[in-house]
Amino acid sequence: MITSAIKLSRVTKNFGQTEIIKGIDLEIRDGERHAIIGPNGAGKSTLFNLISGRFPVTSGSIELSGEDITEMDPQSINRKGLSRSFQITNIFPKMSVYENVRCAVLWGLGYKYSFWHRVDGLTDASERTEEIVELIGLKDLRARIAGVLTYAEQRALEIGVTIAGGARVILLDEPTAGMSLTERNDAVDLVRKVTEGKTLVMVEHDMSVVFGLADRISVLVYGQVIATGKPSEIQENSAVQEAYLGTEQK
């Protein structure tokens, strides 16, 4: 049996009167890299917000590795091993790069709300932080205040903060959006590296990135998944071509 990392059943979400997510059934397999594509406003970020507990669902249920997480708050879901990044960079702008990453490793190492450990003396936390800072290529900027980094650097930090806690399931919302070609290539390499051996769900608009990285793709249009499958299947799917790829290739 293939276990699923995330399983959504008949999930809907309304904002006021408007139904934004219209009954989604979706299964993310354990260990796969899954891309979610779709036009602007399709509800991709909203879907992430539902899975990660930022918003409550209107109806339906969400499971993480077989456990029902539908009603859980974000911190509980994170502790269960799911971590997410944000489309609009969401870091600690007044703290240094190093501090940002360190805040992200603390819970996973079991330090929780401790006020009796001296944080600079925690070798496991420091080592893990150093490792991540190096991995995201910000070693030389470790002391810099996050708010003054360039956009691409902030995006790298966003990924670093997301993966630092050691979550098994990673959701990345448009990790390469708004980047130059070289920055994008670096970002793709980074995503590939940091999600090695993990489950990745990624919202992405750039098709070269999607087809280069994803094992499977789901297409979300107007709050509904119109197709899920391998990149080759998606490319050939006529409904997808009509709804999405066709307009993209023009």
Partner: protein, 419 residues
Amino acid sequence: MMNFAKNNFIWIILVAVFLVLPHVFSQSFALSLMTQMAIAMIFALSYNMLLGQVGLLSFGHAVYYGLGAFFTAHLINWIASGVIWMPISLVPIFGGLCGMFFGFIIGVITTRRPGTPFAMISLGIAEMVAASALMFTAFFGGEAGIDTNRTAGGPLMGVSLSSQIQVYYLVVSWCIFSIIGMYAITRTPLGRMANAVRDNPERAKFLGYNPTRVRWMSMTLAGFFAGLAGSLYIINYEIVTFETLGILESGRVVLMAFIGGIGHFWGPIIGAILVTFLQSALSNYTEAWLLYFGLLFLVIIMFSPGGIAGLIAKHEPVMRANLLGRLVPSYAVVAATGAAMLLGFVSIIEMIYHVESAISGREPMNLFGVIIDPSSSVNSWLVVLFLFVVGTTFFIKSTRIVGKAWEDLGPDLQSKGLL
């Protein structure tokens, strides 16, 4: 490692200063002022655990301080009457635990909604506690308050607390303990996450942390140190009234934190020293001290939102670049014009105050060593008015010189990588 050494250096200096001070200023007035300052430091730092560290603006911090003082007062009276035995030097722990308890209880309600709701609820609770203090006279002693005798417990290892110097050293010991303790807390996982929650509570959730929990724990810990400061208050004064947990006292700690600077750990220490000094010392010289005090607060909030600590910290890179000398001339100009403006302003206030006063209004007054008679001499008014107007005009001009000096430093700081 560098930081560690530097920090320890600071602590050693701190202890040394505390030990040496009573030998430099040995008058009883100075000694009791320094005792008050040390208590205020703990109180202000504990306040900044909320405001500076976790971003909770409280208008009711004196609740924990005052309750710590009242509970300790009763404890000391029990010790005096032999109900229980405990060395008086250790009662601050009890006061701390009381403050902690109330921080914990009140924190349950208040930490869910940070920002304006928290500020308002803290104000409401402060009002409530102050009102109950006047209602429940058995515990709070009504208008008269509760008095105690700190020597009641008898001497412990030669410490009887019968003299101010002994009280000073006791307070200072607890002050050092508290400063180090509160600093240490900022360097723990909870302390780091407090800053994270202050800056971006939403993101902290997605890292496994519950922001409400972080605030709540911060509040509990801040309550401990506020209560401890309250205990030292009762040991020092041997009397506590409802005013100690009132709104005015809560306001005083807000001022200390802001004037000192909430963005740096040691900011409130500066604020506590300055505010206590102004309150005590200035009020001996002039009746209008509250007015000057308000002015100081205004000037700081307007010109240096980071408080005095922020002002000092701003100069750190300049100092490291060895460029402080380039700022000195502009500062000298500002100091001179500022002094003229201030002298003019203070003179006007003091003269008005003198004339207004019914008792001495028709007599000459001593203004900074000059005997003048404001009620008959128009010239004296013209002189101070001239001083004030000219001082202010040139002061405003000279602040631009300072701005220019800073601008000129920019490229040099940048080239040294210090900006």
